[in-house]
Subunit: 277 residues, 2 copies
């Protein structure tokens, strides 16, 4: 998917919502647990009722790996289903991988070729050669952790470095932005840190930012959007638990749709304000 | 496995060698490819002929994930086989994961409870709450990336921070060492950077270090060992490709054993010099 495709998708659906399929087996509605593949059926339910009210699905691999090879089959089935039924959506593997070139190539092959994801999240700690193999794929996206939304973000991401006397996450974003382009790289920018979002936007004015942490983690959609949105879109806001687990009954999918629509009312207005329509 | 158990294992086998099962399906001997599960049979061959000449097996998850749910089954079968036949060996999941608390808990559950690994490698970028869930498991090990052996290590790990005017990797190691103890944490210390190994040893005199990059990546075993070894062992040196892919014939397992023995001759002497016997 190109940057222009993603902008068009945002304009069509009037939203920049990404829905996180953090489909923890323990938390999905009881009536699905007797199915052969509960995680897949849960995801199918969510996706079938939300595809017109979001532009991206983010699959966090941890919640599938926890179920071993069965979980991987659920992940593969989910990715395959979205790819086939809703091919226009941005499909993100939230894997936060990061390993040496040799191994990075294996991961890139897995997520981009075999599973046909559009994007994968990566950790920057191991540097350029751990990221490059992903950037070689045409029309695929590397989403690098910049500033995360958890409390531990202050431990290292917010250490000041002597290079330009600024935070590590600023150094990471500026340095890494030169490895790729705004056409194949995005950055994770934690929503609970809106004070720093402007710094990030200043460093990478043309890159898409993926902001997690709206909803269960309590980010402020209004503030994030005013800083993050650009005339080319430039922003994806992800919500996971607050959408997919908003109702534990047989109506979980309808409830998820309602939650998405609620966010979209705000998003549509903000898109209009920024003239992204 | 406790630190004392690991020391005993090193003393018994007179080696601190970890063998990395980076069992890339493309690289394993041709005669195994007709088997139902080539990766497992390859690993079984290596493990059956090397268990008395090493103390640890490190399974890099990337090489299994690349084969999807089949690959995960190979990984599970390999881990299960080692657990059952050679329960005294340290079994490391080289996963380099790192995610927020919620997700970190899922990963910890996967690797420590479900797959019964002794240790898992993690990336420090997301800070304390991404690591803590792993530290709650008794007699299990978190192996945190400190300084890695790839060229990209210079990009961020070697940025100087203003906190103590030293490299990020030093800050990471010192800070993270306080989250756990030498009984449940180790650090990855890249072998190609022996000049910095002494700095790491000074910061964490009592922690085990896992040094990859001997062999295919060209680290210097002699120098690494003189710095890394302590009276309590304190060092695991990993070799992957240089051992497991040293011969592509039906004798791949015998050849792997020979390569391990070659390293062990040096290791036994170095253990004696450091009086770890």
């Amino acid at each position: 998917m190109t940057k222009a495709d993603l902008l068009k998708l945002i304009q069509q659906h009037k939203t920049y919502l990404s829905i996180g399929l953090d489909s923890d087996l323990e938390k999905i509605p009881g009536h699905l647990k007797s199915k052969v593949d509960p995680q897949f059926y849960f995801n199918k339910g969510i996706v079938d009722l939300t595809n017109d009210v979001c532009v991206a699905y983010k699959i966090n691999t941890a919640f599938y790996e926890a179920q071993g090879n069965k979980g991987w089959r659920s992940l593969e089935k989910t990715a395959g289903y979205i790819r086939e039924k809703y091919p226009e959506h941005l499909l993100i593997a939230d894997a936060k991988r990061g390993d040496i070139g040799n191994t990075a190539r294996m991961y890139a092959e897995t997520f981009f070729s075999r599973l046909n994801f559009d994007a994968v999240t990566l950790s920057p700690y191991m540097g350029k050669d751990s990221i490059e193999p992903f950037l070689e794929y045409k029309d695929k996206w590397t989403i690098l952790l910049g500033l995360t939304s958890n409390s531990g973000a202050t431990d290292f991401q917010m250490l000041e470095t002597t290079k330009n006397n600024r935070y590590l996450f600023e150094e990471v974003i500026e340095t890494a932005s030169k490895w790729g382009t705004p056409e194949n790289m995005m950055f994770v920018a934690g929503a609970t840190q809106t004070g720093y979002l402007q710094k990030i936007r200043d460093i990478v004015p043309d890159h898409f930012l993926l902001v997690p942490g709206v909803g269960a983690q309590g980010g402020n959609l209004e503030e994030i959007s005013r800083i993050g949105l650009t005339s080319e879109g430039g922003l994806l806001v992800n919500a996971s638990r607050s959408i997919i687990f908003s109702d534990n009954s047989k109506n979980f999918d309808v409830a998820a749709r309602d939650q998405a629509i609620k966010l979209n009312r705000q998003m549509e207005r903000l898109l209009t304000e920024k003239k992204v329509t």
